[in-house]
């Protein structure tokens, strides 16, 4: 008998008392009760609590904010479908000024190697959705966010988020996401509490997380 059959048999035998399958009481909150402003405020508060840098700017101000954040940065990587206007800003930043960063685009045609990614200073991505109650930003690997590796290896992650993509509670985010897409949920920069339970930000993942929220 294969191990699979054997185990399934053991389970069936273990359950020979046919335990009842209970109804699932879903009486917890599954939808927001907050206004968009309250969600924004809550998200900012929670992200700062995790020691992320948060900037709230009008959508039109995004290029200027990015230029400011990237001043003095030698190189960055972006996913190939970063929204058109953000990408062009980055590319123009790269072109105009000798001191601005070189922009590498990671695309299905040209995937950056681990070594190349390790050499860039920052990554700029979009986000799929964010949960204000827990201060969580979710990436789902769509072309505006790129492969999981690009938001992992560079030491700084700049994440752009639209207010329309901020929900209050986790069930709302789950409803928006496709389970089978490769996801990374991010709540602050990497951290550890393994030494005397003292939280220290910055271990293996990006040590700096900048979140730019566009209103």
């Amino acid at each position: 008998m294969s191990a699979r059959e054997d185990i399934l048999n053991r389970i069936a035998s273990a359950l020979r008392d046919s335990p009842a399958t209970p109804e699932i009481p879903r009486n917890y909150r599954r939808a927001t009760t907050m206004t968009a402003e309250q969600r924004l405020e809550q998200l900012v508060d929670r992200l700062r609590d995790y020691k992320a840098n948060v900037f709230v700017v009008p959508a039109a101000g995004a290029p200027a904010k990015l230029a400011e954040l990237l001043a003095g940065t030698a190189s960055i990587v972006v996913p190939h479908r970063l929204p058109e206007d953000w990408l062009s800003t980055l590319l123009s930043v790269g072109k105009d000024d000798a001191g601005s960063p070189a922009v590498e685009v990671d695309s299905p045609e040209r995937r950056l190697t681990v070594a190349e990614l390790d050499a860039v200073d920052a990554v700029v991505t979009a986000a799929a959705v964010a949960v204000s109650e827990t201060g969580t930003i979710m990436l789902d690997g769509s072309p505006s966010q790129g492969r999981r590796i690009i938001s992992l290896v560079p030491d700084r992650h700049i994440c752009l988020l639209r207010t329309a993509d901020i929900v209050e509670v986790l069930p709302e985010a789950i409803a928006r996401l496709d389970a089978t897409s490769p996801q990374t949920w991010i709540s602050g920069p990497s951290a550890t509490s393994d030494i005397e339970l003292e939280r220290v930000e910055g271990v293996h993942g990006p040590r700096t997380l900048d979140v730019v929220i566009l209103t």
């Binding site: 294969s2 191990a3 699979r4 185990i7 399934l8 048999n9 053991r10 389970i11 069936a12 035998s13 273990a14 359950l15 020979r16 008392d17 046919s18 009842a20 399958t21 209970p22 699932i24 009481p25 879903r26 009486n27 917890y28 909150r29 929670r46 995790y50 995937r111 681990v114 109650e133 827990t134 201060g135 690997g141 492969r147 999981r148 590796i149 992992l152 290896v153 986790l170 069930p171 789950i174 409803a175 389970a179 089978t180 897409s181 490769p182 996801q183 990374t184 949920w185 990497s190 951290a191 550890t192 509490s193 393994d194 030494i195 005397e196 339970l197 910055g202 271990v203 293996h204 993942g205």
Partner: protein, 507 residues
């Protein structure tokens, strides 16, 4: 699909690996209690997490509703486990993942070794996983000439120190910063000799030490926190980014997951990803959660394996009273609130699973007859703090009592000859089974007065009862029983004898 079982019932097959204590709990606890440093570190740590947990749990108005949902989802999972496993398998496989089944620790270790050998690699990176620790994978791989590098900071500390984890969430909870610095200076060949004991500096040393390993690793091994049956998705919850590194960079990913880790629906994750982080680290959400479903072309490992592990889980499932122990999501809240754990630490439990949950899960998986684990159900004061803290409402005290009963039964089966305790219990059974029997016995009460003598205290009794009187005195029994007194005071006009009306009184 119905679970109706038509085949021959099989006897439970127990688990092996690091589930057994190497010595009985009382002995180990006695030694660990002598370690003042350990107790100071543990006391500080458990109290810190406890407070954080209470704070973030109090923030949610619907925490209890979430616990109710979590508990029901896990009970439903166990009730239809075969169908869910098959559903998970179909979904995971459809997206390019490969599933292997392992009956026990040995089989799981062999499968993983075979998969690593097939890649030609002799080094693997590992993300913290209880299941691989349970099966003793690192030790097994070492024997096979494969080096497994733990990448979680706490696991790294423990591995570098050739020690064992003492807490399922913070495995190095028993070490303080000075001890950790000393371990790094001694064991990391690339370490800065001027390393300070500041946690930030220590974390940085770990980052440097592991970075090159991550960037060059070809094979990674992980556990999984949840497997979602309706989509075939796996989940790893972590903080440092070592998990993301292991799950994203290598070409081959091998995950070892217990068969009980499934949830029926993707939607169920909305409950568990609220329950888990708040209960375990006392955070609103852990820094990183990774989800993957088989292989994503061009993104992450292209060779993705999952080993589904039994190793005694089906034996736990067969215990109708104990099976809810499998609902455990390994948050560690129960150990952080446990007065016994707080003082003895995790090592005293021997098994990979310490604390209150370990005290029930280990003997359920190995069988209560396992010599060393049969003392575990007694490692509790039954105060109930664990039950209150448990996000999936596992009634640990009730299962502890149930297992104590099992242990007593198994001990009895072993000796065959009825012990004095048995005889006393048999006697009690007889006495309390019938009011008439009790009446008869109560007539003997004045005899107790005789044994007690003038000072009305019984100092010494023969036999097993003698052990009881070795350390305490028993007041002499009164001249009459409550029942005799009651009967005298309320003599029924019809003359009904007290003993005959007693049936209804046994509320």
């Amino acid at each position: 699909m119905s679970n109706t079982f038509l085949g021959m019932p099989t006897l439970p097959v127990f688990g092996s690996g690091n589930l057994n204590a190497t010595e009985p709990f009382p002995k180990a606890a006695h030694r660990e209690l002598g370690n003042a440093q350990l107790r100071a570190n543990l006391g500080h740590a458990t109290h810190t997490i406890r407070d954080k947990r209470l704070k973030v749990v109090a923030e949610l108005p619907d925490w209890e509703e979430m616990r109710d949902a979590g508990s029901a989802i896990k009970n439903a999972t166990m009730a239809k486990l075969p169908a869910l496993l098959e559903q998970f398998e179909a979904n995971f496989t459809a997206r390019g993942g490969i599933i292997h089944w392992a009956r026990d620790a040995q089989e799981a270790n062999e499968i993983v070794t075979g998969l690593i050998r097939a890649t030609g690699e002799t080094e693997v990176v590992k993300v913290k996983s209880m299941a691989t620790q349970e099966i003793g994978l690192n030790e097994y791989l070492q024997e096979q000439g494969i080096a497994a590098f733990e990448t979680d900071l706490a696991e790294l500390i423990v591995q570098l120190d050739h020690d064992k984890p003492s807490h399922i969430l913070v495995p190095a909870i028993h070490k303080n910063r000075d001890q950790i610095r000393e371990i790094f200076l001694r064991e990391m060949e690339d370490v800065d000799p001027g390393l300070s004991n500041e946690p930030a500096r220590l974390a940085e040393a770990a980052r440097r030490h592991l970075r090159r390993k991550f960037l060059t690793a070809k094979v990674a091994i992980s556990g999984a926190n949840f497997g979602l049956a309706d989509t075939g998705t796996l989940t790893v919850v972590e903080s440092e980014g070592n998990g993301r590194m292991c799950l994203t960079l290598p070409e081959t990913l091998i995950t070892v997951m217990g068969i009980e880790k499934l949830l029926p629906l993707w939607t169920d994750l909305e409950v568990f990803m609220q329950l888990l982080p708040r209960s375990s680290t006392g955070e609103r959400m852990n820094p990183y959660t990774s989800l993957w479903t088989g292989v994503t072309p061009g993104d992450g490992p292209q060779s993705v394996h999952l080993v589904m592990l039994d190793n005694g889980r089906t034996a736990a499932l067969a215990d109708e009273m104990g099976r809810t122990a499998l609902n455990c999501i390994r948050c560690s809240a129960c150990m952080n609130v446990c007065p016994v754990y707080e003082r003895t630490g995790g090592h005293a439990y021997g098994s990979t699973y310490p604390g209150p949950i370990g005290a029930i899960l280990s003997p359920l998986m190995t069988g209560i007859k396992s010599e060393e684990n049969n003392s575990l159900p007694y490692a509790s004061s039954l105060c109930g703090a664990c039950f209150d803290a448990c996000p999936v409402k596992i009634n640990i005290p009730e299962i502890l009592v149930h297992l104590r009963g099992e242990d007593v039964d198994s001990q009895r089966a072993r000796v065959k000859v009825p012990t004095q305790m048995d005889l006393m219990m048999k006697g009690a059974e007889w006495a309390f089974s019938d009011g008439g029997h009790l009446n008869l016995l109560e007539k003997g009460l004045p005899l107790g007065k005789l044994v007690a003598g003038r000072d009305k205290v019984i100092k010494k009794l023969p036999g097993l009862a003698g052990k009881w009187t070795q350390s305490r005195d028993i007041p002499a029994p009164p001249g009459q029983s409550f029942r005799q007194w009651w009967a005298k005071e309320h003599r029924a006009p019809s003359g009904v004898e007290a003993g005959e009306s007693a049936e209804g009184d046994q509320a």
